[in-house]
């Protein structure tokens, strides 16, 4: 398995509190992604990073921020958690070849419940 670790694996938090999820990789891949997975929606991209301090928004970025201060770590922060952010969050890593996305490796996911 690719060296990707998500923490925590499970979290229950209260509405209005900030929450930070961590993704750590040991593969030295340049590209890192945060997705959320919800029934009926599949996987949706939240934010992604194409290098240290280089990030961009995905299709469902509202209410989320990210930071990447080191190649190996990509943090996802829910600034003020809402019940609609209850979901399973997946981190993924990949490289590009000839400016084309190659296979992505996924973490085991973080199940977040906002009550």
């Amino acid at each position: 398995d690719a060296g990707i670790t998500q923490s925590p694996r499970h979290k229950v938090t209260e509405t209005g509190t900030p929450v930070t999820l961590r993704c750590h990789q040991t593969e030295n891949h340049r590209y890192m992604y945060w997705y959320r997975q919800d029934p009926g929606h599949g996987l949706r991209l939240i934010h992604y990073s194409y290098g240290v301090k280089d990030t961009d928004k995905g299709e469902v970025s509202d209410g989320y921020s990210v930071s990447r201060s080191k190649t190996e770590d990509f943090l996802l922060t829910l600034e003020s958690a809402t019940s609609s952010q209850t979901s399973v969050y997946f981190c993924a890593i990949s490289e590009l070849q000839a400016r084309r996305a190659t296979e992505a490796f996924f973490g085991q996911g973080t199940r977040l419940t906002v009550v």
């Binding site: 590209y31 992604y33 997705y35 009926g40 929606h41 599949g42 996987l43 949706r44 991209l45 992604y48 194409y50 961009d56 995905g58 299709e59 997946f90 993924a92 990949s94 590009l96 400016r99 084309r100 996305a101 190659t102 296979e103 992505a104 490796f105 996924f106 973490g107 085991q108 996911g109």
Partner: protein
């Protein structure tokens, strides 16, 4: 927005039968990938097919790509109970991969 869309949403077959899943997408792509997700786990890459390829094989997997119809199919031959999982197609948009909603495959003994 999500680029790929899988069809059917759910598929139930018996062991030994073949399973076919389809993926349609909207805009031009560089490549298309298929992933599998077992319940409660992360996604696992199965196969990548480039836009200039029409067919690709990997073990019991066969993927076709028709760029004129903006569609792809994944065929799993001689299915096994262990193939029970959700299957997703993914298309690239520059740096990121966009996933569909997936096909849920159930293979019964």
């Amino acid at each position: 927005s999500q680029q790929g869309e899988e069809d059917p949403q759910a598929l139930s077959i018996q062991e030994g039968e073949n399973a076919t899943m389809n993926c349609s997408y909207k805009t031009s792509i560089n490549n298309l990938q298929w992933y599998r997700q077992n319940s409660g786990r992360g996604l696992v890459h199965l196969i990548l097919i480039r836009s200039n390829e029409r067919e690709k094989h990997s073990g019991r997997l066969r993927v076709t790509l028709d760029t004129s119809k903006k569609s792809s199919s994944l065929l799993i031959t001689a299915s096994r109970a262990a193939d029970t999982a959700s299957y997703f197609c993914a298309t690239d948009s520059g740096y990121a991969l966009n996933f569909g909603k997936g096909t849920s495959l159930l293979v019964t003994p």
